[in-house]
Each structure stands twice: as C-alpha cells, then as structure tokens.
Amino acid sequence: MKKFLGAQTVRFSQPPTIKAAASIVGPKEGEGPLWQSFDVISPDVLFGMDSWEKAESEMARQTVALAAQKAGLPMEEIRYILAGDLLNQNSGSTFGMRSFGRPFFGLFGACSAIGEGMSLGAMLIDGGFADYVIANASSHFCGAEKTFRFPLELGTQRPPTASWTVTGDGAVVLAARGEGPYITAVTTGAIVDMGVTDANNMGAAMAPAAADTLITHFKDLHIQPGHYDKIITGDLGKIGQDLLLALMTDAGYDLRDVHEDCGLLIYDRQGQDVHAGGSGCGCSAAVFAGYLLNQLRKKEIKRLLFIPTGALHSVATVQQGETMPAIAHAVAIEA
C-alpha cells in the first residue's frame, strides 16, 4: 500500500508509537522554566570529561542509555540508532554511540536533527525494517561556540538577534506497537534559502523553511492549522517566530493561537540573557523528550505538529559570504 501522498508527506499505515524518551540538560537549562520536565540536570557542563567534545558525547551516551532503560529495553533490542549533532563530522553522536554496538545512522540536519531522526525512525518501523529505533540529538553550548563562533574566554558581545545554543540532549524510543502517542504522519522539508547571510540571525534564515514545510504539510494532508492543538517549531527564537507568523499570514494561514517555539520555551528570555532564544539540536530534542511528551501523555496536547528547524551553514560557507540554507521537518503526533 502506498504510504506517501501529496508533495512531501508520508502517512503511516500503522503509526509507530513513542515508547519512551529521555532528556539530559546542562545547568543553565536546568534554571529555565522547563526544569521539572528534564530527566537529569547535570550541574557540570563537562559531564565529568575534560573537553567540550567529550562532554557532548558523554551526554549523548547517557541520554540514549537512559531512554532505552525507561523503555524497558536492553540495548540489543534496539535495531537502529539515528543520531545527529553540531560538531564537525557529527562526532558528538558517533563518539557517544560507539560503545553501544548497535546499527547506527549518523544524521546531519543541524538543529532539525531530532525531527529528521524521528521521521526516518518512524519510516523504518512502519516499513517493517525495525521494531525499536532510537532517535537522538545533542548540542553543547561550549562545543558549538568553539565550532561556530569564538573561544569562550574572548570578550565579545552578541547582537540581540543571536541565539543561545542549548546544552542538552533528547532521545526518543520509537516502537512498532504500544499505547502511544503515535507518529501519524511526517513531512520532510526541502532546503529553503531566502538569502539571509547573517549567522547571528539564524531565526531569520530558518523561518522560511518552517513556513515552507508547514504549508506543504497542510496542503498534502488537506488540513488547516486548527487541526492541531499545538504547532511547535524547533529553535526559531523571537525574531524567527515573528517572521514565521508573518510568512504564514501571507500564505493565508493563521498560526498565532497554536504556535510555540522550543527556543522560547526552554529559557526565560529576559532573566537568562539569551537574546533571541535557545537554539541547537538539543533544544527541540530535550524540549520534546521532556515537556512536550509529558503534555501528550497527559492529553493536554492531543494533536501536536512538531517541526524542528535547522540552519545548514558551516563556518567556511559563512566566511565565504554564502547565504544560509535552512530546513524544517514536520512530525505529526497524536496522543
């Protein structure tokens, strides 16, 4: 039976279930408004390691192990691990997952990684290729600063449009059977580039990608935004959110009542001095694995459209003056 429809959407015939999830975050995220929803708040941003890179890998390892444990599954039962992060060559994920000895697909979708992982994981399961899959995404403020910006101890100011990379990780265990919540459909984003060149304004680069995927999703499934209780983007931040709402209004969709953004949920934007909001792979992943999944379980959200967003630039492309391509993957979830 054909499972794909419209331009970019897949509707699952036997919707995979979200069996369990785990989230581990750093101390700053633990001071944010969602602190109660995370499984572990590490007081140590180094996670007992001696470099930022090792710290991120250790955080990813701990989160995936915890997710499998919460699902009641020994690691050998996991058919695939799909994981992504922001470090060069995806090393946060590969070094984090290497000790598990399970089949591994490394993903790069920048901060959309958890959406990419959940989409592919659900396809693997509904396709009959696996019964249990873990999707994971991690980011680390210090590692991201080192990779994309400046040394931590350099005295610089961030512009008001900049975002704050979340130190955090979210792992989601998908299963063929279970009590839900269920992933009912996914819309895989196309790469969208509206010509934004300012790497300190990622929300502006990503908002058109989110709009593009949303419009396609609504058209492919012949639904309106009101179909969902919440439509939650990954890490657009304040500026990106304003731009997304404007773009969607232009396209004839009103999201104002249903839209929220993980980057705005995870921090207290005024009190924690994070400028535009949170960002990073771990932002949407940890917010989903903690806060959003809790809301789905409690049926406070019955229908959720989760749409992690990613800016697909590198240091080299920015220095070469290239524009910033972006992507957004929509995952429809029903409690």
């Binding site: 931590l152 100011q157 512009p159 300012d198």
Partner: protein, 119 residues
Amino acid sequence: MTLLWAFIIGGLICVVGQLLIDLTKLTPARILVLFVVAGCLLSGIGWYQRLVDFAGAGALVPLPGFGHILATGVKKAVDERGLIGVITGGFTAMAGGVTVAIVFGYLAALVSKPSGDTP
C-alpha cells in the same frame, strides 16, 4: 591633565569601535585590523603623534596606538638603516608587546582547564 584626556580620548576611540560593531556588523577581528592599519597610516602622515602628545595612554593603549608604534618604529629604522629599516622597523617596534602577549598567553593555556563558567 593627561590622565583626564587619556580617559576621554581612549574612551572615544572605543566608542568609534562600538559604533562600527553595532552599525556595520564587522567582527571584532576586523575592527582590530582596521584600527591597527588606520593608526599606522595616520601616524605615517604625522597626525597620530599629535594625539599621543595630547592624550598619552589614551592614544597609545587603544589598537591605533599599536599601529602608531609600528609606524614610528619603521621611520626610525629607515632613518638609521635606509631601505633595510623598511623590513625590520615594524616587527622591532612591536616585539615587546607581542612577545609579552605570546609568553603570558602560552602560560595561561598551560594553567587553564575548560571551565563550566559560561559567559
């Protein structure tokens, strides 16, 4: 009196840098380069020395002052050694400051560990 002018002129040079950052999105590295080159050229045509005479450290401590030291160094070397001075003057003049920065920067790396104290 020089102390007051050092404060005012030094502060104003920094304000120029701040406006460049906020209005042009120039990165700090570019600001530093721009200021050193500007100081060197302004000193080359003799203007910067007047600011130094007037504001002392207010003109010497900001990065244009670094450029000024390069320019006065190269002029002095040219006076003493002719064309050879062109290639020795700049580095000779910056040797002291740069060496201290390298030595202490290196020591800083030796004693430091990654800290969780994020800015």
